[in-house]
Each structure stands twice: as structure tokens, then as C-alpha cells.
Symmetry: C2
Amino acid sequence: MKPLKNDTLLRALKRQLTEYTPVWAMRQAGRYLPEYRAVRAKAGSFMALATNPELACEVTIQPLRRFDLDAVIIFSDILTIPDAMGQGLFFAAGEGPKFKKIIQTPADIEALPVPDPMDDLRYVMDAIALTAKTLAGAVPLLGFAGSPWTLATYMIEGGSSKNFARSKAFLLNQPAAAHQLLDKLAQATVAYLAAQIDSGADAVQVFDSWGGVLSPAMYREFSLPYLQQIVTGLRQAGYAETPVILFSKGVHGSVLGDMAASGAHALGVDWTTDMNEARQLTADKVALQGNLDPCVLYADDAVIRREVQQVLNAYGEGPGHVFNLGHGMHPDMAPEKLGVMVDAVHELSRK
Amino acid sequence: MKPLKNDTLLRALKRQLTEYTPVWAMRQAGRYLPEYRAVRAKAGSFMALATNPELACEVTIQPLRRFDLDAVIIFSDILTIPDAMGQGLFFAAGEGPKFKKIIQTPADIEALPVPDPMDDLRYVMDAIALTAKTLAGAVPLLGFAGSPWTLATYMIEGGSSKNFARSKAFLLNQPAAAHQLLDKLAQATVAYLAAQIDSGADAVQVFDSWGGVLSPAMYREFSLPYLQQIVTGLRQAGYAETPVILFSKGVHGSVLGDMAASGAHALGVDWTTDMNEARQLTADKVALQGNLDPCVLYADDAVIRREVQQVLNAYGEGPGHVFNLGHGMHPDMAPEKLGVMVDAVHELSRK
């Protein structure tokens, strides 16, 4: 492994001092970039793109050619693990992800295999290895996975959901089966993220995209313990030095404090919690990543700069801030707006 | 006006002692009830139902025939005010509300009239008067309106929105025009709610359904001041004794404390904030309404009872709790589940 030329992100994730606030953006590789759309069209489908290491590497690196980013994140999908468990992931046109099989009974969960990432998810590892080699240490490469609860929602609902009625009813009515499913997913995720690190990922993020739809009590019972299991599992497997970022979108208040005690290096924070409040809740136990409202990128450049300054001010003094959006880029955003944000973060955060 | 036979809700909203915790449910009049669907089919369309005082009265009272509720809420829609401003509300099949006109420029806002509720929204007042007469004091009748920010989102987006890209960009790029729009909507809402009270509403709720999509800073600039304007406007117009409930769905943390200082009698709380935490944040300055996750009504009866007990425990001792869901009933819910919840609240909250 070549040493990193720019390790600002990794130092910030470990709450070490940096010369400026590092920045990347969720979904920075994606549809808002015309060069992404061209590769996606060539691949033919989302899954054809995600499972082709050369093309996945290409779209991962595309945003780095345009913007002065401090990290790239491997192009993939959170639903690779349930797919590798045999659930049959597919994307219906204009409808988002769907699964051919739906989890309904304890027997369905009992039958789920825990995939071997180096075998069943080889395409992800190959994409990471190729991207790490191509980057040649320019910036850190982030790996990622979905959280057990978030993956479980798709597996129980059969796809995306508006109200999470089926998955919440499953937790409430069949808690033992739910815990078995979440435990299997956490085991699979530890192995998956360990393999990503072995393949060249410098840090990993767990996307708990639907953590915030649970009440705090249900979050503490059904999501947080499995995030904890992933953090602890990676540490026990010898990956204690690789930063882990937990992002439970929509989670706020005292739950952020509980997350900070999980042993993770950093927490993602969405834009509905002020960074100052997030910092108080987490008591500087972790680095914090965020949290500009993505919709600010629809605004005029001067407004973007002002709002970047507000987020930097809200975080305040001291190490441990990674700048990011509070959620992903939208497909209809103008690419140059991300450049305005990135440059503003660098310029305004330098002392 | 006949005296109320059951004024438990009003006493709880004023933080007076009650014999038990009063309970109602958002969207308790709605599609999950077969008798509602029958009236809706007879009316032909949602707007035909909402603008017919006899039918609106009928569906308002329907849930009271099934469940031991402590309040009913007038059947109407939050978008009546923009419609009365001439924006042309209509409902496309399966697509939610839409407006024929879209707010794009300061001139569009300048041209908006402030409606006279007794004239332009007479159908709402007639429905309230008829419902109050029909109830004959059985339980309190709630009136309601949408918050200025929430109404503005529909007027700027032209309907529902996923990301609120246009409306947020409008706030950021054209703040003076946005403030003018929000001020006009607040003025209209004060007159509208005052007319509802004059017509027979015993308390009113302001639904800030999209308050929670704003960052705390933007919420404090573009939503909260106009909720405040409504509360203050009603008090100055002589309605200080009528309880006002503010419900900004998705709003949490220190912002709840700011809302508690608005002079409103009560705040709605969604299920993502623990009632105990909400109570600490609001320091018993206001009553709190909520906050069972609606999806709990998909669970087994014993689970519903257990989760009701958890919400009651989380609120804890002392007056000022109005039990409700953290959001509205869903159309696919089994009606009898609401009965399980209502009975559990009454039984478990009696000392």
C-alpha cells in the first residue's frame, strides 16, 4: 500500500489536528454527473455497473477529477449483502430496489446463509482493490455497508417503503426472529467490511438510512446494538485502527450520545441537528461528519458559502470535523455547485 | 354554546389535572374507516366531501361512534387557505394535492389576497358550526390549519414534494419574498382560526407537517416566527382562552424548547423524541401531545397496550399529557386497533 498523499480525512476521523476541514459528499459519484450517466448508459443497468470492477472504479474516481475532495467512496449499493444471501436484488425501472424473496417467517431467517465476502461479494472487493491501486494514495478510499436494521427493512418490505409498516410490525410481533435476522446481518457486515479493508478501503461508513424512523426505544433495541456489534466485531478482528463512521439518518437527541459510546470513530449527522448541539450530545468522544442541507446546493454561490460558514461555525473550534452534506447529492443538482461547497470548506476552514 | 360533558382534553391542554389522559388520533376521520369510504364515494371527490358541511360533519363524528375518544377534529384540509387565495387546489388521482398556480416571483406573492374566512372559507365554518351543534357538547371539537411554511411548500412546489428543493431554494435565494409570503399566510391563518373558534371550535391545532425538513437555523427563521405570529395574533384578537397546539413534525432538540416559549398551550411531539426528553426540553411550559408510533397499530393487541404504557411512563407524573399518535392513521389500518389504543390509554392512565 502506498502512503496517502492526503490523509486529512483519516486524521479528522481520529480527532487529530488538521490544516483544514476535510470534505466529501454522500452520492458524490452519481447521476448528477454527466460522465456518470454516460458510464451508466454503457453498463446498461445499475447492477451491471456496480458489479463491473472497472466501471465501478471509473465512476468512483470521476468526482475527484472535478473537485478537490478529501476522499472518494467506492461505488456500490447497500443491498449487496441481502443479494448475496440469495434474496434476488433487482431494480424495476423508476421504482427503486426490490427483492424477489421477502422475509416473512422465522424459517426464512433460519435459512439465510452468511455470505463469504471474498467469494460471494468478490466484485466489490475487486472494485475496491482496483480503485485503491488507481488512486495511488491520492486520497483515502471509503468502503461502506448498510446497517442491519436498514437492510432488514428492505428484506421484510421487499423493497423501499414509505411507512415501514411491515418491518416495524415484524420487530414488534416477532422480536426473537427479528433479532436473529439482525444478528446474521451484523455478522455478515463485519466480514464484509473487514474484507473491504483488506482490499484497500482506508475507512468505512455504515449507512443506517432508516434508523431515524424508529422510536428511540425501538432504535436502542433493534438498530444500535447491531451497529455496536459491527464496531466491536471489527475491533476484535484486528481492524481497530481503521476509522468506522456510523450514520443513522434522522436520529437525534440523547440517542446520538448513545451512539458516541459505541466505540465508533465518527458519527454522521444530518442537517436537522445543529452541529453544536451534536457536539454537546456526543461530548467530543467521536468525530462528527456533516451536515449541510443538500438543498443548499440549489442556492446561489454566495448563499452556499454563507451556509458552509454557518456549519463550520456551528461545529466550532477543535479537531474532529469532517464536512459533508447531511444526506446525498440529488440527481438534478448542478455539478459545479459541489465545487463551490468543497472550495468554500477548504478556504473558510483554514486558519 | 352548551357546556362540554367531557372537557378532559381542554383541561389537559391547559395543564390542569384530569382523571385520566385524554386521547384522540390524527386522521381519526379517514380512509381506514369503511363508513368514511362510503361517504367519500357518495361525495365523488375529496374536495366535494370537504366542502359539503353535512358530509364533513358526518365523517368528523364517525370515529366517535366507534371509539371512546376525548375529541374530534373537523374534517378538512390544510390547503384550504392557499385555495381561497386563488391558487386552484385539485387532487389528481393517486398523486396527492396539486395547485394550478405556482408561486415563483415576488409579484406572485404581492398579488395574493388574504382571504376573508367567513366569506371565502364559509364551507369550513358551516361544517364546524353544524358539527358543534350535532356534538351537543359530547367532546371538544378541534379546528386546524396548516403552518405558513408548510402551506408555502405546496404553493412553491405546486404540490407535494420529496426533497423540497424548490421551496428551500426560494427561502435561500429570495428571503424577502419568502418572508412576505409567510407573513401573508400567517395573517390569513389568524383570521381563519379565529373564525373557526367563533364557529364552534374548542381548541385549534397548527400542522407544521414539514417543519422538520428544515435545518434548525432555517426553521427558526422561516417557520417558528410565523407559528409565533399565529399564537400572538389569536391572543391579541381575544382568543387567549382557546388552546392552541403547535405540531412541527420532525422537529426535535433545542427547537422544541423554543417552540415552548411561543405562548402556545401545547406542542405535538412525533414518535422520534422520547416524551421524557420532550418534557425536559420544554420544561413543563406547555402541554405535550403524542406520541405513539402509528405503526404500533399494526401490532398485536398486547403489544399495543405495552407500547401505550411505555408512552405514558415516558411522559411520567403530572398534568399536561394528551395522548395521540406521533403522526396520522394510515389508510390500511384495522379500525379496531385504534379502539385498543384508546381503551388502553384510558385504563392505564387512571390512578
